[in-house]
Amino acid sequence: MSPQPDASPVSGGGPVSESAVAVGHAGPADTAPGDSLTDGSTSGDSSGDSSGSAVRCAGLTYRFGDHVAVDRVDLEIGRGETFGLLGPNGAGKTTTIRMLTTLLKPAAGTVKVFGTEAAAYPMRVRRMIGYVPQLLSADATLTGQENVELFARLFDVPRQIRKQRVDGALAAMGLTEPSRRLVKTYSGGMIRRLELAQALVSAPRLLVLDEPTVGLDPIARSDVWDYIAGLRESAPITVLMTTHYMDEADTYCDRVSLMHAGSIRVTGTPGMLKAVLGSGATLDDVFRHYTGGTLDAETEKGGIRDVRRARRTARRLG
């Protein structure tokens, strides 16, 4: 059950994924080994975005019937940034992410991912995104390796480099050893890492993590984060994530936004937000400060669905 044994042969996630990625950088498969970063940022953009932001939402709105789930959200995420979207259940985080990943069409407003409008060119936007949903959703009846290969195929990774990529993604997440086993036999933490591998095999420019550590035990949690952090160190990937764990947001996010009742209440670096409340304040205090009071009355709307979802996740884990 413990994910540790799988991580042990690679002596921690950070170094291995780093070296692996560094190697991949100069790999023969890449057409432009030299100036890869700028190469990537120019080749991917069809409509030249001089703005330089990875994600830009303007006036984003979504309604479920009469209930306004997301209310005129403006959001800007810089390239290479790790951005945290925080907020209580039912705040609209997941809805925002679903619009960002082209799963929902916004009722009003626009989403641009690397300058490409999501509503107009969903296929192009999907190509740039690696998405890890809230639920543990790797296919249990396939092996880990097949799960990742599926995504390599879906993203048109050319046949010649496919195997290489798949093995690389699995290795970067410390899953080489169990990759031939059916996912049924994986632990929760391993499934999460497998999902990360799935998201990464297409070399996305934006990684979207919807509560990546929900339902995981503390060890698996820190394990997953080690891998994400190692990945970030070695590649300038933009990460957008939601979480309920303030300590995670504090440690791993460059900037966070606090959402409540469909709108963004405050945005800034964790340090900045804490400083506003005075010294000694934690991000928990910040959370309470911006969402407190009205929390009880508001959560009920999104509450049941969230609870049900969490329970489903728990069942899958248990």
Binding site: H25, G40, S43, R126, R127, S137, L154, Q164, T176
Partner: protein
């Protein structure tokens, strides 16, 4: 099989082309083509093939379903078909054997059941969140529907009962 990663010291090019590197990674992939009908059709075909591949892999890992699906047509053809052929209880047009009369219907029935079953499976996948994840990949919605019943359907109904 090849557990290259664990033993390999850092720096050795055991797994080149690791993703997470946005620049080279993307440039290694073909650009998403402009949404011409031809490109869209090709993408659809390629995705259907991919999803079929997945279904076939699943059958390879777990064949029980293949067998359980084969039971019903086998039952019909072997038990009922044989029996009614022998006793000539049911009049058939042109006096063809009842088995021959029955067989096409059984084939159609199997295909229909498999299609229904795989249709239901899409709902399960939706519940499990797998479908959501597939929908965030550059996969046309049509492929998700189209791919489901075809390969296992073929695999199963082509299987002699």
């Amino acid at each position: 099989m090849t557990s290259a990663a664990p033993g390999v010291p850092p720096g050795v090019s055991a797994e080149p082309g690791v993703p997470g590197r946005p620049g080279p990674g993307l440039s290694g992939l073909p650009e998403i083509p402009s949404d011409t009908p031809l490109a869209a059709a090709r993408r659809l075909a390629s995705r259907v093939i991919t999803l079929c591949w997945v279904e076939l892999r699943k059958i390879r890992h777990d064949r029980t379903e293949l067998y359980t699906r084969a039971i019903q047509p086998a039952l019909w053809l072997l038990i009922f078909g044989e029996t009614f052929t022998r006793i000539h209880a049911i009049p058939t047009p042109g006096h063809i054997p009842y088995l021959a009369y029955l067989a096409p219907g059984i084939l159609a029935q199997s295909a229909l059941f498999i299609a229904i079953f795989y249709g239901i499976q899409i709902i399960w996948e939706r519940d499990a969140g797998v479908l959501t994840k597939l929908m965030v990949t550059p996969t046309p919605r049509a492929a998700l529907i189209r791919a489901r019943p075809s390969p296992p359907g073929c695999a199963r109904s082509s299987r002699p009962p």
